[in-house]
Each structure stands twice: as C-alpha cells, then as structure tokens.
Amino acid sequence: MAKPKTLAEHLECHDVSRRGFLKFCALTTSMMALPPAMVPTVARALEKARRPSVIWLSFQECTGCTESLTRSHSPTIENLILNYLSLDYHHTLQAASGDAAEQAREAAMAENHGKYLVAVDGSIPVKDGGVYSTIAGISNLEMLKHTVEGAAAVIAIGSCAAFGGLPHAHPNPTGAVPVQDLVLDKPVVNVSGCPPIPVVISGVLAHYLTFGRIPDLDGYGRPRSFFGTSIHDRCYRRPYYNKGLFAETFDDEGAKNGWCLFKLGCKGPTTYNACATVKWNQGTSFPIQAGHGCIGCSEPRFWDAGGFYQPLSAGIGGVGTLGGVAVVAGAAAGTAAAAFILGMTYRILQTYFLGRAKNLAEPRGSQWLHGMKTIWWRSFFHPGMTIRGYFTIISGYTFHLGFIITLLFFDQHIELFKSWTGLSWPALPPLVITVTAVLGIAALVAVLVDRFADPVRYLLSDYQDYLCWVLTVLPLVTGLLLVYKIWLPYTTLLVVHILSFEMLLVAIPFTKLSHVFTIFIARWYNGAIAGYKGVQS
C-alpha cells in the first residue's frame, strides 16, 4: 500500500473523526501561538499538507533538546506531528546504527532533494579542522555542510545550535560556532533556549507542516510568535516591578509575597521567550513562578553575560569580574590625566621661563603668521628630509600616523571621547583600524631593529629611548589583542589596555614623548625667528 500523501488522508487512515481533526487543528493553532480565529485557515492548510522528511543532526550537545521535545507535554498531538513527519535520521532515536544509519540519511537526502528539513541541535566545532566532534568518522562541520546542500530550511534547535551556547562560552576551546555562521544560503530558524520549550520546537515544525514555509523571524532568526515579547513584558510579577516592589533576598518578605525578582538578577527584561505564557511541565509553572529569576538562556552568549544573580542594572560583566580592576583602572585614569596635564603645564612654563634674549634687529616680517605656517607645513614631506635615506622617514611617518589614526578614529575610542567631551566624529571601519594598528606596530619593530643594527644609533640610545618605545607600542599591541580577544580574558585585556595608555600619558610630560606637545611650540618658534628675519624657515 502506498503511503498516505496528505495529513487529512493520514488521519483518516488512523480513523480520526472530523471532530478529532478539529481538535487537532485547535491545538496546533494554539501550539503555533496563532489566535484561535485562525483555526479554519489552519484546518484548510493541514488538510492539504504533505509529509515532510526531517533529518535531525546532533552535534556538540547534551541531548537536553531532544529530551525536551520527546517528553513534551502534549504526547497525542506531538505523536501525530512526529509520526506525520518522516524523521529519517536522528542518531539518538533511530533503531539503525553505524553505516545503516548514515545510509538512511543519504537515502533521505537523495529522495527528498530540495524539500527536506534539517534540524540541528548542538554547536559545531571548527577549530583544527573540526576534529573535536565527529560522527561515523565525519566531522560535524563536514556533515552539516553536506546535509544542508539539498535542504529546504534548517531549524537550529537550542541555544548551542542557535548561538553557540555552552561550547561557545569563553574560552571556547573547540572553536564552536552556531549553525547560522556556517549555513548562509538557506533559511535558518533559531529555536533558542537551554533547552527550548518543547511546544516551541513542535510549533515551528507544525508551522512548516501547515504552511509549507518557515514562520516570521526576529533579528536573531527566532520565530516572532514565540520570541516576540520579553519574559518581563509577560511576567505576572510585572505589576510589582511597576510599583517598585522588589525582593531583596530570596527569603525576605518581598520574596514570600511574590514581588519582582529584578534585584536578584532576573534577566526577564532582556530575554525573549514564551516561558511566562506557555510555561513548563504541562503548563504548571516557570522559573519566576518558582521564585527564581530568569537566567536568560534563550539569548546569545548568556553564559558569558555576567552572573545569574547580578541585577541587569549593574551592567553586563558585573561588578564581580571586571569591577574591582576596572575601578582601579578608572581611578588611575584620573590620576594619569592629572599627571599629564600638570606635567605638561610644568614643562611649558619651564620652557617659557627659560627666557630669550631681546631681539634688537628691525622686524622684516610677521612672527605669528610665519610661526603658524611652519607648524602646518613641516608636517608634510619635503625633499630635504631624505638626505639620509628613506627608512627613517617612511617608518617614522608610518608609526606616527598608525598611532594617531588608531587613537582618534577607532569607534570605541570615539565613544569614549564623546562620553568625556560630548564631541564625536565619524569612525573608520574596524578593518582599516586593524591595518593602521598593525602597520604602526610593524614600523615600530622596524625602527627598533634598525636601532640595534646601526652601531652609532645603538651607542646613542639610552634607557629612556627604549622606555618610550615600549610605552608607545604597548597600547597598540594590547588594543589589537583586546579587539580580537586573543590570549587573555576580555576583561583582563581591557584593563591592561587602559593601564598601558595611562602609563603613556603619565610618561609623556617627563620624557622625549613630550614632543607630542612641544613640537608645536618648537616649530612655531623656528618659524617665528625666520619670519622676524623675513626669510623662509
């Protein structure tokens, strides 16, 4: 006997009455989070629905997502949906194993090319060629790429598949990435959550079954019908939040009275999911109803987003990790800025009070105008500069420009300047900044090597020269490590980067680095002398 083609025929074979079908449609509509008025539309669509083939791939995961679905609270409807889908490969659930299992997958792909659904739970390790997770000798990366080739759509089930989840958490030893980073040419639905709510998983499958397409998605690729509102917006404790009534500890009067858990670290305001309405364990309860704040498990990078018990108002990263050191770095910033300003004032006054002999000659031109002109035009290249070759000129320009451009045109630096002064200007693209920083470092390394190689320069160099070199290169190097999250934890790098710049600021007034300021005075002075004499400087 040929397999039934449409869902209506399938149900008829199982002797399900029209009344039973109506009940099925009412529950499926509810499962898809569509309004009850949609039931007739859903019924019409389901009558004609065709049986889709589903290939379920389990990668770096804990099987919690499969547990969530198969222990779902609506067995009859689930069974109908699951029985109706042709689940052609799921290595935890299928009877076949080894080669036979892999052959089932290949056969389903060939038979339903362009029409089958791929469900993925778990993230995919890509480091070292993806060797950290393999099935039947095939790396997850390879299996995913091969399997999605003929897929109609991909459903990433759980936070690992959707956003990388636990395997992706710092320090991400396997280089785990989510499905959406690898599958770029097929629609990807992210059903996040750790685990996702079972009804949300089956709701997405039901949606595809009913309408033959994936549901509307939010900015993170999640179905809007389930992830459209925050936990906070739908929380029954919201009225307490609005009144400013909070539990301060887990055993105080507020906690007993069921007040808002915001201050105890509830992530409800920044978490989008259906827990507050659909609830868990056959609609019995959900974490907030049980007295614990939401941990935000359906949001990207929730493992690294600070403590579960840290209020959102404390800021991501919290006072715990970054906090102590950041406070020190922040206080040091004030000290460094003070040292810089006072030091520079001292140096300028010192220079001014050196005094200069009164010029008895008749002035033949303007001091001011010529001085200003000299400041400007000496910044540019002129032939006289290359008498001793091009090396110093080119490397000198490169590291000066590299440093200044990186300092002034990196978007996060501009944000910082803006927060201090209110002034801002357009940033350069991050890639350009990376190039300027790398060129700056390369040029600094080149001048250092040259200094060691050239016996005269080597002899002339003293402790201060090397100190200045180290202080200049450090902010560039630590900044690069920070932006690309290399070697040390992000927060540590951030603090090191801030401190490196503070050290530079403190050193500027008291070393040769003071030229960042005095160069303008010196140039003006030179220009002014020439201007007074009426000659070119």
Partner: protein
C-alpha cells in the same frame, strides 16, 4: 496597598479581570449576531490565582459534555449562559489545551459534515449487508 496587605489572604491576580471584560464584550457581540469569541488560555500569562478566580466568577452552568476524539475533551457551560470552558486532554489525562468560548454552542460539540457523511455511508452499508429481515406479517 499590596505592600502593606498580607498577600497570603489576597489572591495574586494578573489577567483574570481583563479576560472577564473580554468575555463581557464577547457576549455583547454574540447578542448582536456577530462571530463567536475564542480565548486561548494557554497563551495568556496567568498568575497563580487567575484561573481559580475565573472559575469562581463564571460559576457552573447546566451543560456538561465529554467528547472522545483523539483523547478526552470536556465542554462545560458556565453559570453565564453562552460562555463555555473547553478543555482538551491527551490519553494520559494531561491537559493539552484550555479555551473559553463565547458562543451559542462550541463548534467541537456539533456533529461534523464529513462525519455525518461517513456515518450515513456506514449505516447504508450495514443495511445493505444485513440479511433480509423476517417481519411478523410474513
């Protein structure tokens, strides 16, 4: 108010009253001949006492029906005529869906066209296959 009151005595409510108002509007529409209103209770956030409050407010009515189709379903008219609780269960008795319907009679309670056609066919087949009956007259 909530801060000072002992909340052990006071029910914790969130959406019960808005739903009662929605039902009130649904009844107005039903009386003026408009469509039925169906409220999917599993898609509305409830506090712990909301459902009990709704049940108390609506009370029990005159009709109680049980349907056996893809598991059990109960259809109960509330004390407010035209307002029905429709609850679907699975074979194990777990609740799959909870609805309040504001209607003259819930759709699922009516006999369905396809089922009637199938029933008629079954009856006709039965009559056709039965041996001719001997009647008292013969």
């Amino acid at each position: 108010m909530i801060a000072s009151a002992n909340t052990d005595r006071q029910p914790l409510l969130f959406n019960a009253k808005p739903i009662l108002n929605e039902i009130r509007h649904g009844l107005d529409r039903l009386l003026s001949g408009d469509d039925a209103t169906v409220i999917d209770l599993q898609r509305i956030p409830f506090a712990v006492d909301d459902e009990r409050y709704l049940r108390d407010a609506l009370g029990d009515g005159e009709v109680n029906a049980t349907i056996n189709a893809l598991g059990k379903s109960t259809v109960q008219e509330t004390g407010v005529a035209g307002v029905w609780w429709v609850t679907h269960y699975d074979a194990a008795g777990s609740v799959l869906g909870k609805f309040i319907e504001v209607t003259i009679i819930p759709e699922v309670l009516k006999s369905q066209h396809q089922d009637i056609v199938r029933g008629l066919g079954k009856l006709s087949a039965r009559l056709a296959s039965d041996p001719p009956m001997t009647t008292a007259e013969e």
